[in-house]
Symmetry: C2
Subunit: 451 residues, 2 copies
């Protein structure tokens, strides 16, 4: 049971690493982090279900964000707005007119392509012919459906392509029903839907995905300083939750990428196995959103500061993160292999806050004699932590199973435990084992995990 890492694998380079992609995707499917949706029906392209481990980890990512953005602050409130929303919202936001990709058809082979993704704008990548494309046509990325009792003729309704508009259209409700005043924010976690032409890279770009967005409303004179504040805050959040510094970058948008209304946007990017990819965009959106909705709704979305007798439309700083792709980044960053006793040990070195299970209870043998104590310990830990229980196969293999899914601590109940009322606590990263009295186990685990 002694496990000495006789040598460790070289630390991963900070550049692209295609092998890593396959390893993590494979682990995700094999261990129940992520399954292709409707797999028994051949799958539903680029849609995924989060399995037992993935649903736990995704909850942890979202909870960590909510804790940082809502619970630990007193200038941010939460919101949970509807996914279905009427066309007026998307007309005002500009999505109906502009949220589209340019598509071209090849008149020779009848295939359809996204114009801005073509290597050669004239030559069809399917049939190889040149000059066969039609004019580009805008294809709106919003999913549309109908609500109401008349099939095909009900009210048009859209699945939101971002959670942000829910915050803008509730700005007045929140000013009226809370005591929050600028600078203050509205935070929301929820699903969004985009009919992407080219989804891909596993859960990085999917038609259905989950966002974690904050809209932070400030006095116009203070927008630059708050923009800078949120750049640092959000960059540090990823570092604090386990992304190494050499795999994280803050990339300011070039002038030609910048929305016409934004005076500054930066992306937090992660070095994915295929290169840098966006985890979060932080934008200084000015007064664009509130002004647009004021004009379209005919209702002034502004703030009157009584103390200074000043009326103004707040500017908005928006840190908009992807929950599902952040989870993928945390998995990629945590994946590690090392040689232990001539064997390769796969370890997910996840921050304990993000790990699906915090602790696993492992009776050394499946024999009935150990079960009562093992179950007692399981029952002791469950109120505090997501706890795994595993009693089959050799203990060494069970350690490996927990390493591979990132469980920070394993508690082994052995035959000595019945005499000394103590158990062995093994650390995922160091593989060190401590003998701990059952009576002090919860405290020991809390001090190891830090929560």
């Amino acid at each position: 049971m002694v496990e000495n890492p006789s040598s460790t694998a070289p630390s991963q380079p900070s550049g692209p690493d295609p092998e890593l992609f396959d390893k993590v995707v494979n682990l995700c499917k094999r261990r129940g982090f992520v399954y292709p949706s409707a797999e028994i029906y051949g799958g539903f392209r680029s849609t995924y279900d989060y399995g037992p481990l993935g649903s736990l980890m995704l909850r942890n990512v979202k909870d960590a964000w909510w804790r940082s953005m809502v619970q630990l602050r007193h200038d941010v409130v939460g919101l949970d707005a509807a996914i279905l929303s009427p066309p007026q919202v998307w007309e005002a936001s500009g999505h109906l007119a502009n949220f589209s990709d340019p598509l071209v058809d090849c008149t020779n082979c009848k295939t359809r392509h996204r114009q801005d993704n073509l290597d050669d704008p004239n030559k069809c990548p399917s049939c190889g012919k040149s000059g066969t494309f039609t004019e580009a046509r805008a294809f709106n990325l919003m999913f549309k459906t109908h609500a109401g009792p008349i099939e095909g003729a009900g009210a048009e309704v859209y699945l939101r392509p971002e959670t942000a508009q829910g915050m803008f259209i509730n700005f007045k409700n929140i000013i009226n029903t809370t005591r929050k005043r600028p600078p203050f924010g509205i935070a929301q976690i929820g699903k969004s839907f985009r009919n992407e032409i080219t989804p891909g890279n596993f859960v990085f770009r999917t038609r259905e995905f989950e966002q974690m967005e904050l809209e932070f409303f400030v006095h116009p004179d203070e927008s630059q300083q708050w923009y800078e504040y949120w750049l640092k805050e959000r960059f540090d959040w990823y570092l604090d939750h386990g992304i190494p510094e050499d795999k994280l970058m803050l990339r300011p948008h070039d002038d030609d990428e910048l929305s016409h209304y934004s005076s500054g946007t930066s992306d937090v990017e992660f070095m994915f196995p295929w290169g840098w990819g966006e985890l979060e965009g932080i934008a200084n959106r000015g007064d664009y959103d509130l002004t647009q909705h004021s004009e379209h709704a005919g209702e002034k979305l502004e703030y009157f500061d009584q103390a200074n007798n000043e009326r103004y439309t707040p500017h908005v700083i928006e840190p908009a993160a992807g929950a599902t792709r952040s989870m993928m980044a945390f998995l990629m960053a945590a994946y590690d292999e090392e040689i232990v006793n001539d064997d390769t040990r796969t370890v997910l070195r996840l921050d304990p806050r993000l790990a699906p299970y915090k602790v696993a209870v492992l009776p050394l043998s499946k024999k009935d004699t150990l079960q009562p104590l093992a179950h007692e310990i399981l029952g002791m830990l469950q109120p505090h932590y997501m706890t795994e229980y595993d009693e089959t196969q050799a203990i060494g293999r069970r350690y490996r199973r927990q390493d591979e899914i990132g469980t920070p601590l394993c508690v082994t109940v052995d035959f000595e435990s019945l005499d000394d009322n103590a158990v062995t606590v093994r650390d995922r990263d160091t593989m060190e084992q401590d003998r701990v009295a059952v009576a002090g186990l919860v405290d020991h685990i809390a001090s190891k995990l830090g929560f």
Copy 2:
């Protein structure tokens, strides 16, 4: 600051109470629990957004369910499946063929009605004429949209009308990637969508809603005993979280309500202001779902029990709860008014686990002298509890504000606090106040709340 309830209102009757409905709906809008969706655009019928307090409380309801159903058990795993799903799933489940309401058109006034809701099956409620209805036509309740790059001609896809099918189609994935064996369950929380003809009663029946569903897979011989187990477990869950016994009922379905495949279904019903309404259905679904998907997918969804050398299709017990309507029931049950010092005090007597905020920090005066200590205490509490901070208006009014949103404890920082380094902790229900040393505040609150 002394608050003596000079008399208390009579306890609410357990029958319908239409006034209560208006009071709670009004409170929800006024204090930011629930807003009508897209209100600045005139609203989007029967769709709601959960505001700062509602989003916190809804999280608490869902977390309480997840804790009971997943964290505190070792025979249930989580899942978070996609909302978008292909037609094959709904063909197998029977939703494409059968998930519909019968609609009739009035040939005289051209209005449309749900046949099974008509008081008089012959007489139109709009124009009053008799014998003017067309034959009933089935109207499917699923929302349909299109995925893929060809507008109007992409692949048909449905918004799930229930989360349950996600569990059935992942049965094999979960058997293959976890060590769970029957009896075991798959739990899921998430949004579902039904194009209801007659949504209404605030958030009770909405087109977009949130479910908390468990599919529990058992040996066929054990299905009746597990059905009974879950009836009791789920009924007790509502009692344990604050629904009084005289407002809760377990109602077995009549034979004519029962699905053809179900050998037993019971609803947990709550006495809403308009009468009894379903919070959760618990069904013994037999092997219907796994068999349907086995036949349609051409892949056997069954379990081979090696120890007993037995192959079987598990039976399913399904406790399916509504998260949003449960939240509404908890609010209705918690609402109370009592007379205190000739004034009416409104109190939400929510279980502390469900209350949006657990504690509020209230500096007695807005003066700068109290702010540093009040902020220090806020910072002390935030890592442990969702904490509100309120420094405006008289302290009595602030207590009432917290009572009205169900905050179990208020911590008042007064001028004496600067000398004795102690604060006053006020209890929402008893209005009793304790003087507590700042150093022992977190422990005091934990013992008052019980977590």
